[in-house]
């Protein structure tokens, strides 16, 4: 009952912040858009080449956009002291973190996967590939944010070797990337993407189960 | 009248989807802009009246 109160409060606050500062979700979107449109300038405009890199660029772009909004999770709160409210709450920290990641995933995941098909167009990809990419972005963003929340929590005080944690955490997102881009590639080659999708979903559930607990532990470590 | 029939007009030589799609997008954009303009004005006036009442 009170746990529900606390988690809804976390989500409500997150949404209030999104409403207050549209830039929180609009800017990652613009970043994604711009990253996707930079590559042709560097690679060339032949549509054969573009088709080749399109899936990769779009997927990596979405992951980077999500990764860049990770600092929003705890940094500002740590600076103004709000993080201590969360730590001092009688409710389980992992649940509160999960609520916060959920709000961010929802906003960001939906926004990014909604514009993905447009970029697929820029890279001369067919419609079914675009749809598959979009679905995979929707699944990958929450996974990445969940895994990333551990890093974000560790980085709050930046005492525990900021770089080391980034190096440790980022490789964990590679499966997401492989399965996500793989599913779209399968569709491009006319094969069934079922295996990749299943693995992607499994990976997401695993992250959902483990990451909030790990992030809670990390947060406690880094605020000592 | 350069068109043989209304049907021919709507068909646009088989490219109706693209032609009317374009005009549709324009119409959507214009209507959306007009609606937001109107809304912004209404809320600005409302805020102004509230401000004057205080």
């Amino acid at each position: 009952m009170s746990l529900r109160g606390a988690t809804t409060a976390v989500i409500r606050r997150e949404l209030q912040l999104f409403a207050q500062r549209k830039s929180d979700w609009a800017n990652p979107l613009m970043f994604f858009l711009i990253v996707c449109s930079l590559f042709p300038f560097a690679v060339g405009s032949e549509s054969e080449k573009l088709k080749l890199i399109g899936i990769g660029v779009i997927f990596v772009g979405a992951l980077l956009a999500a990764m860049l909004s990770l600092p929003k999770l705890f940094d500002e709160d740590a600076r103004d002291g709000s993080l201590e409210l969360m730590l001092a709450s009688p409710e389980p920290l992992a649940a509160l973190i999960l609520a916060r990641v959920a709000a961010l995933s929802l906003a960001l995941g939906i926004a990014l996967s909604a514009v993905t098909p447009v970029f697929a167009l820029f890279y001369a990809l067919p419609f079914d590939v675009a749809a598959m990419l979009s679905l995979n972005v929707l699944m990958a963003v929450p996974t990445l944010l969940l895994v990333g929340s551990i890093a974000a929590a560790l980085l709050v005080s930046a005492r525990g070797g900021a770089i080391l944690t980034a190096v440790l955490v980022l490789p964990l997102t590679i499966p997401t990337l492989i399965f996500g881009a793989g599913a779209a590639l399968k569709v491009l080659y006319g094969e069934s993407p079922a295996a990749e999708l299943a693995l992607q979903a499994a990976f997401m559930l695993l992250a959902l189960a483990l990451c909030p607990l790990a992030a809670a532990a990390a947060l406690k470590i880094s605020t000592d | 009248m350069i068109w043989e029939s209304w049907a021919a007009f709507w068909a646009m030589g088989g490219r109706g989807l693209f032609v009317w799609g374009s005009y549709g997008v324009l119409a959507f954009a214009v209507i959306a802009e007009l609606v937001t303009l109107k809304r912004a004005r209404t809320s600005a006036l409302k805020a102004l009246h509230e401000h004057h009442e205080h």
Binding site: E46, A124 | R15
Partner: protein, 258 residues
């Protein structure tokens, strides 16, 4: 200390520009202008579309699909013209410190961005039947896309300030920086495009019948008036928001509602 508006007004007192540079004098004038522009836009659009659809003949090469031109080209032109106008008012604002100039810039930006979207989408829809693809990385198309980004950046920046006065000058500066960059970007994209020889297709090749040209020109004027009217409306809303403490606004609105 920053130049205040009253100071600059004193300095240039008497000239017509400064008379209308104050929101109080401009507000009613803009109201009249706005109405005129809406009316002209509607009439010209009706005439232009009539000529475009019922007088202009079928194109020999493209068939009927070319009729997208009546909105595509005006939108493409407007998005560039509006960016220039926006940068002009931004510069005016930075140099002279007049609030109204910044407000003009803000009022123009959303319409400019919408025109960019219309140009991009209608162009894509035209490209599919003529080039067989929705998008090529042609210089003109690509620079329109970048122009759209510049509009978005300008608007995002203006919106991210709590302090409107700061937001005014900050976004004006970025509009100017963008304006200096637009030609550089255009030429480098063009140069890039020839380097790669990617798309052999690009707009602007076929010759046009006189009636087509007439319809396109009339539509262009209709777009002009539409954009001016929309910008003026937005400007007046902005004035209402910012001048809520001013007595003249109260009087003007009261007079208008009677």
């Amino acid at each position: 200390m920053a130049r205040t508006e009253s100071q600059s007004n004193d300095k240039f007192a008497g000239s017509w520009f400064w008379r209308y540079a104050s929101p109080a004098a401009f507000f009613p004038l803009a109201g009249k202008l706005e109405k005129l522009c809406w009316a002209l836009a509607a009439v010209l659009a009706a005439v232009g579309l009539y000529i475009g659809f019922f007088v202009a003949p079928t194109d020999a090469q493209q068939g009927e699909v070319y009729r997208v031109i009546f909105i595509h080209v005006p939108a493409a032109w407007m998005t560039m013209v509006i960016y220039m106008a926006m940068a002009f008012w931004a510069a005016t604002g930075l140099v002279l410190g007049t609030r109204l100039s910044f407000m003009m810039s803000h009022a123009l930006a959303p319409t400019g961005a919408i025109m960019a979207v219309v140009a991009l989408v209608t162009g894509s829809l035209w490209g599919r039947p003529t080039w067989g693809t929705y998008w090529v990385w042609d210089a003109r198309l690509t620079s329109t896309l970048i122009l759209f980004f510049l509009y978005m950046g300008y608007m995002a920046l203006a919106a991210s300030f709590d302090d409107k006065k700061k937001g005014d000058r900050a976004s004006a500066l970025i509009a100017l920086v963008g304006a200096i960059n637009v030609p550089i970007i255009y030429f480098s994209v063009k140069w890039w495009n020839t380097l790669h020889q990617g798309s052999s297709v690009r707009p602007g090749s076929s010759s046009m019948a006189a009636t087509m040209l007439t319809a396109m020109m009339i539509m262009t004027f209709a777009f002009w008036f539409y954009c001016v009217a929309a910008a003026l409306h937005r400007l007046r809303t902005d004035i209402i928001e910012r001048e809520r403490n001013a007595a003249w606004l109260r009087d003007t609105l009261k007079a208008a509602s009677q």
